[in-house]
């Protein structure tokens, strides 16, 4: 029964492959964050504020040309920061198009306005306003996602978190996010090892019911391990003086180059807000 067999192996192999993918993504992000590019040289706080300003400008703009211009700036920044075009296409644009496309799909048919085309067979009307509305949504999301991915790919994750302090994000939240990222890999590794170990001892095939049982048992074991670890982590924190309040150390220093970049971000954002109003 080949179909059944491929289903069984697929379950374990798919899980293992997902863990490996997640780790590869993180590894790629860490590598690009260490590259010698334009955005990598910018202070994380300046980068965070600047990119958020550009995202806000793209979200507020009512001009297709302005949003397209912001996307072009994002692509130029990616090129100057050694972020591969292929990564942008595969990890951002295609994924965003699939996700946002589904949301935007009804707009051309349900938005009232000037009918420019009739859908063959179904006979639905496609309106100009509907198409524009769907186009704006997709382009805005593509631009915002590209800018956000640029921030993450050109900044070590712990620096992104620390930079959030400039937006008055509480230190305890920054610490929790940092710990989540830290332990995500440990739990992923643990899950990966569990699945590998099961695969190494498996002969034959599992029925659908058995597969569900294995998945539930694995999730239970992983949860129990995670719970034990979280208890130990709390004790380790307490042992080094944690008493409910968290303090973090800011190591960033603003240089002249950062002021120039901050000015450039501000200029582009204000211009985009003005032209796209």
């Amino acid at each position: 029964m080949p179909a059944k067999r491929s289903g069984t192996r697929g379950f374990l192999e798919r899980s293992t492959s997902s863990f490996v993918d997640a780790m590869e993504h993180a590894f790629y992000a860490e590598q690009t964050a260490r590259a010698d590019g334009l955005l990598q040289r910018v202070d994380p706080r300046v980068k965070l504020v600047g990119i958020l300003a550009l995202v806000a400008a793209a979200a507020a703009s009512r001009s297709f040309a302005v949003i397209a211009g912001l996307l072009a700036i994002a692509i130029a920044l990616a090129a100057l920061s050694h972020v591969s075009f292929r990564v942008l296409v595969n990890r951002v644009w295609v994924a965003v198009l699939l996700f946002t496309g589904v949301i935007a799909l009804p707009a051309p048919f349900v938005t009232p306005g000037l009918v420019i085309w009739h859908l063959p067979l179904l006979g639905w009307d496609v309106t100009e306003q509907g198409l524009a509305s769907a186009g704006y949504l997709v382009l805005r999301v593509e631009t915002a996602a590209t800018l956000c991915v640029l921030l993450v790919l050109t900044t070590p994750w712990n620096h992104v978190l620390k930079a959030l302090r400039v937006l008055r994000v509480p230190a305890v939240l920054v610490t929790i996010l940092g710990m989540t990222y830290r332990y995500l890999f440990l739990v992923l590794q643990s899950a990966h090892d569990m699945f590998e170990s099961r695969r190494s001892r498996m002969i034959g095939e599992l029925t659908g019911r058995e597969r569900r049982r294995v998945a539930a048992a694995s999730a239970g074991v992983l949860m129990s391990k995670t719970f034990d670890l979280s208890n130990e982590v709390y004790l380790a924190m307490e042992s080094r003086g944690y008493r409910g309040d968290i303090s973090v150390l800011d190591e960033f220093q603003i240089r002249n180059f950062d002021w120039v970049m901050l000015g450039a971000f501000a200029l582009v954002s204000i211009a985009a807000f003005w032209l796209g109003r």
Binding site: E232, V233, R243, S247
Partner: protein
């Protein structure tokens, strides 16, 4: 170190455990334990897995408290309430440091730098002092090059060194180490042992749990053998290592099959030795 009450006139011990019992639900981890740790001594707690060593370290670090009996730190009662007291709690956390057996539990920060900074920042040290102390500690532990690395990218040996650095940065007078050489490759283990050997004759009190008999002569002045939550014996490393029946009943000495050069295979127990 002794397992009896101190006599009047002797210095106040750093730790004094009296008749302590600790249970995990139905399992008794510590059974009416008595222990005194004097300042500046290096004490090894020996015992097989599950003998109660790690539980005792957590009690000495004020992370859990005995169901029965008392623990005193420098003469002051160590309780859940006293450790919550700002003055005593902060002073205790600065003076006593625990290095956990599992470094993944101890290394919870995104980078090595943040990890080492955690303790001083929680104790509200000024930022300049924190930065200076981190630089000194990373240098001393020879891990400056790992400063910006994430803990999940480190080897087990590196993780253990970072875990130790994260505690040493506070300059603790009393260092509690839970299986410091467990799961380490020989090179990383020797690095850790060198650190413990250098603690000899200093002001620092070091309490180490281990079941590695090869290292206790180097890292300890006194030994205490645990078995099922009770103290089975106390003595110098030489006295303990010379008592084979004690080591066997405590699960510290084992027999297994050996292949000799002649090709003969038989079972006998012996201590392993390392190169000098």
């Amino acid at each position: 170190m002794s397992t009896t009450n101190t006599n009047s006139g002797t210095p106040v011990p750093v730790f004094e455990v009296l008749d302590a019992t600790y249970r995990y639900r139905d399992v008794t981890a510590l059974d009416h334990l008595n222990l005194t740790v004097q300042a500046g001594r290096r004490l090894a707690l020996l015992g097989a897995n599950g003998s109660g060593k790690s539980t005792l370290l957590r009690i000495l670090d004020g992370l859990c408290f005995p169901d029965e009996g008392t623990v005193r730190f420098c003469g002051k009662l160590l309780t859940e309430e006293s450790i919550q007291n700002d003055g005593f709690g902060v002073d205790f956390r600065r003076r006593v440091g625990l290095v956990f057996q599992n470094p993944d539990a101890q290394l919870f920060s995104p980078t090595v730098f943040d990890e080492v900074a955690f303790g001083p920042l929680q104790l509200r040290w000024p930022p300049d002092q924190v930065r200076r102390k981190i630089a000194e500690t990373l240098e001393m532990m020879e891990i400056t090059h790992l400063k910006d690395r994430s803990p999940h990218h480190l080897s087990m040996g590196e993780k253990k060194r970072v875990a130790l650095a994260s505690v040493l940065v506070l300059d603790p007078e009393i260092l509690l180490l839970d299986e410091p050489t467990a799961a380490l490759d020989p090179r990383s283990a020797s690095h850790m042992i060198n650190f413990l050997v250098r603690a000899k004759g200093g002001d620092r009190t070091v309490v180490t749990t281990t079941h590695d008999l090869d290292i206790i002569e180097d890292i300890a002045d006194d030994c205490l053998v645990f078995h099922e939550g009770r103290v089975e014996a106390t003595g110098t490393p030489a006295q303990i290592l010379g008592d084979a029946p004690l080591l066997k009943t405590s699960g510290l000495l084992h027999s297994h099959l050996h292949v000799h050069k002649s090709g003969e295979i038989h079972t006998h127990s012996h201590l392993h030795r390392h190169e000098h």
